[in-house]
C-alpha cells in the first residue's frame, strides 16, 4: 500500500513517543502555523556559542508535523550550527523533491531518521507539515544568534 511510504514505522514511532517535547529554557522562541490545516508549533532554541544546547517545542498537529519535530530534536541537539544547517538544507531539498530523490547512503548519513520522510515529499499537501518545525527552528536560530551569526555560518 502506498500509504506505507508516507507513514513509515520510524515516523509513527516518533509520533507516538516524541523526543524532547515540552518547552524548556531558551534564547529565542517562535510560533509557526500552517494556515491551511491549523498545525501549530511553539519552538525554543538554546545555544552555547554556536552549539545547539537544546531545541524544545510544544504544538498540535498531524502525525507528520509532530514526528518531524521529534526527529529534529533528536538530530540537532548537540550539533554545531554549521552541521545543523547542512542537515536542515538537506532535509529541505529532500522534502521539495516531489518524490524524485531516492536518498543515497550519503544523504542517509546526514539525515538519519529524517530520511523516513522521503515518502512524504510525494504528497504536496503534507510537505508543509513536515517542514513546519524545521522552518520554526531556522527562524528561532536567526533570532537567537542575530543576523551576524547567520551570515558567518551561511
Amino acid at each position: 500500500m502506498k500509504l506505507d511510504s508516507m507513514y513509515q514505522e520510524v515516523i509513527l514511532d516518533h509520533y507516538k513517543n516524541p523526543h524532547g517535547r515540552g518547552l524548556r529554557d531558551g534564547d529565542a522562541e517562535v510560533h509557526h502555523v500552517n494556515p491551511t490545516c491549523g498545525d501549530e508549533i511553539t519552538l525554543r532554541v538554546k545555544y552555547d556559542g554556536t552549539t545547539i544546547e537544546d531545541v524544545s517545542y510544544e504544538g498540535q498537529g498531524c502525525s507528520i508535523s509532530q514526528a518531524s519535530a521529534s526527529v529534529l530534536n533528536e538530530l540537532l541537539v548537540g550539533k554545531e550550527l554549521t552541521d545543523a544547517r547542512r542537515i536542515q538544507e538537506t532535509f529541505l531539498e529532500l522534502m521539495q523533491s516531489k518524490g524524485k530523490i531516492e536518498p543515497d547512503d550519503a544523504m542517509e548519513e546526514v539525515l538519519e531518521d529524517a530520511v523516513a520522510f522521503a515518502g512524504v515529499s510525494k504528497y504536496p499537501a503534507r510537505v508543509k507539515c513536515a517542514l513546519l518545525s524545521w522552518m520554526a527552528w531556522k527562524d528561532a536560530t536567526a533570532q537567537a544568534l542575530g543576523a551576524d551569526a547567520e551570515r558567518k555560518t551561511a
Binding site: C37, G61, S63
Partner: protein
C-alpha cells in the same frame, strides 16, 4: 443496498456527473464527500459552457453585432434564472460577482462608503456570529478597523447552535448591520433567521445572509427570509467557479454607492466626474464572468429539473443516516448538532486523538474525499477546543453506500493509527 425514504434516483443522477465514474489510487471508486467545498458539475453545465464558447462568445452590453447581442441575452438570461431561483421581486436586484466572498466584501464596502442612514462609522456596531466562514468575518473586521465601528458577535452553544439568549444586548440601536450564515459550512447548523431578522428590524439594522451552503441544498426565497442582502456562490451548486451572486433590496442598491469603478458600471464619464448605471450594472465593473454566469444558469435549470424540495429531502435522509452511522464509530465526536434536525448535509467530527490530516490521508487512500482542517472557520475550532475537524458533506448524487464506505474507511483509520 440501504433504502431510505425521500432519496432521489441517484443511479440516474450520477450518470449526469462524469467525474463520479473516476477511479483513484489503484482503481478505487471515487467517493466524493467534499461537496461543501465545491460540488461536481453535471454534463448539462459542462455542455452549456462549451456551447457558449463555441457558438456565442462575445463581450456583453457593447457590440451591435449578432454575437454580442446573443451573448448579452444569454448573460442577462442567466440573471433571470437566478432571480426566479431565489424568488427575487426584481431581476435588477441580482448582482453577479466572482464568488460569495466578493459578494460579502461588496456589502461591507458599500456600507463603509454609504451616506446616512446606512453609513457604518465609529458610533455604530456590526454584528456577526462565531460560526461564520472567514469570508463573513474578515470583511467586517476590515470595515470595523477602517471606520472605528465596534464588531460584536453571537457565541455558540455546546451543541453547535447560535446562542441567542442575549440577542437584545448584541443587536442594539447602534447596530447598522447583522451578517450571519444561513447554514454553517463546518457545523452544518441551519440558523433561525426569523428571530434574528425580527430583532434587527426592531432596531432598524440591515440584515445580510450568507447563503453559500443553503442555495445549493434547499429552496431559497429571499422574500421569505426578509433579509436585505443574500450572498452565495455558483460552484457549490453545480455551476462553474468564478461566479457568485449578491442579491440586495432594490431601494438599497439604488441608494448605496458603487465599490469597484470601471467600464460597464457607468452612465456618463468626463474627466472630472462620472454618473453611474442603475443597479445591478452599477456594481458590475468591467467585463463580467459571462460564460460562468451562463454555466450557473444551466446549473439552476438542472437543479430545477430535479426540484430543490426533493434535493432537501434527499440530503435530510442522508444526514439522518450519516449521523446514526457515524455515532456508531468508537471515539467519534460530532462537532455540531448531533441530530439531523435543523441541520444541513455537512458533518464535522473528530476521531479520538487522530489528527484530521491523518484521517483524511488514510481515507483518501481508499478513494474517499473529505475535507480536513479548520474549514475557514477557525473560531469554531477554538470554541470547541479542537485544532481541526474532518468533514464529510453530501449532495444530490450522494448515496447511503458512500456513507457506509466512509464508516468502513474510518474503521481502517482507527486500525492504522491504533
Amino acid at each position: 443496498m440501504t433504502q431510505l425514504p425521500g432519496l432521489l434516483d441517484t443511479e440516474a443522477i450520477r450518470k449526469d456527473f462524469p467525474i463520479l465514474d473516476r477511479q483513484v489510487h489503484d482503481e478505487r471508486k471515487l467517493v466524493y464527500l467534499d461537496n461543501a467545498a465545491t460540488s461536481q458539475k453535471p454534463r448539462q453545465v459542462l455542455d452549456a459552457l462549451s456551447e457558449y464558447y463555441e457558438r456565442y462568445n462575445a463581450n456583453v452590453h457593447r457590440g451591435v453585432h449578432v454575437l454580442a447581442e446573443e451573448a448579452t441575452a444569454l448573460y442577462e438570461g442567466a440573471r433571470d434564472k437566478v432571480a426566479a431561483f431565489i424568488n427575487a421581486p426584481s431581476r435588477d436586484e441580482v448582482i453577479f460577482t466572482k464568488n460569495a466572498s466578493e459578494s460579502l466584501n461588496l456589502v461591507a464596502n458599500m456600507l463603509g462608503w454609504a451616506d446616512e442612514p446606512y453609513r457604518v462609522d465609529s458610533e455604530t456596531e456590526i454584528v456577526i456570529t462565531e460560526m461564520e466562514h472567514h469570508s463573513n468575518i474578515v470583511p467586517w473586521q476590515l470595515l470595523a478597523q477602517r471606520t472605528g465601528a465596534k464588531l460584536k458577535w453571537f457565541g455558540l452553544t455546546d451543541d453547535g447552535r447560535l446562542d441567542l439568549s442575549n440577542i437584545d444586548q448584541i443587536i442594539t440601536e447602534k447596530t447598522k448591520i447583522v451578517s450571519f450564515v444561513l447554514v454553517s459550512n463546518i457545523l452544518g447548523t441551519v440558523n433561525p433567521v426569523e428571530a434574528i431578522v425580527r430583532r434587527a428590524q426592531e432596531v432598524g439594522a440591515l440584515v445580510c445572509v450568507d447563503a453559500s451552503q443553503a442555495a445549493p441544498h434547499m429552496p431559497l426565497d429571499v422574500q421569505a427570509l426578509q433579509a436585505d442582502f443574500v450572498a452565495f456562490t455558483g460552484h457549490k451548486m453545480c455551476g462553474p467557479t468564478g461566479i457568485g451572486v449578491l442579491w440586495g433590496r432594490q431601494e438599497l442598491l439604488e441608494d448605496l454607492p458603487p465599490f469597484l469603478g470601471g467600464g460597464e458600471m457607468i452612465e456618463t464619464v468626463s474627466m472630472h466626474s462620472s454618473t453611474y448605471a442603475p443597479a445591478p450594472h452599477k456594481f458590475e465593473a468591467g467585463t463580467p464572468p459571462i460564460a460562468q454566469a451562463v454555466g450557473l444558469g444551466a446549473a439552476i435549470d438542472y437543479l430545477n429539473s430535479i426540484g430543490m424540495d426533493k434535493v432537501l429531502a434527499h440530503e435530510h435522509a442522508l444526514t439522518e443516516y450519516a449521523v446514526k452511522r457515524l455515532t456508531e464509530v468508537p471515539d467519534l465526536r460530532i462537532i455540531g448538532p448531533a441530530t439531523a434536525e435543523d441541520r444541513g448535509a455537512a458533518i464535522s467530527f473528530t476521531l479520538g486523538d487522530i489528527h484530521p490530516h491523518d484521517v483524511g490521508q488514510v481515507l483518501d487512500e481508499q478513494g474517499i474525499a473529505v475535507r480536513v482542517g479548520h474549514h475557514c472557520a477557525r473560531p469554531v475550532c477554538l470554541r470547541y477546543g479542537i485544532p481541526a475537524t474532518t468533514r464529510a458533506s453530501f449532495y444530490l448524487y450522494s448515496t447511503p453506500a458512500e456513507i457506509d464506505a466512509l464508516v468502513d474507511g474510518l474503521e481502517h483509520v482507527r486500525n492504522f493509527f491504533g
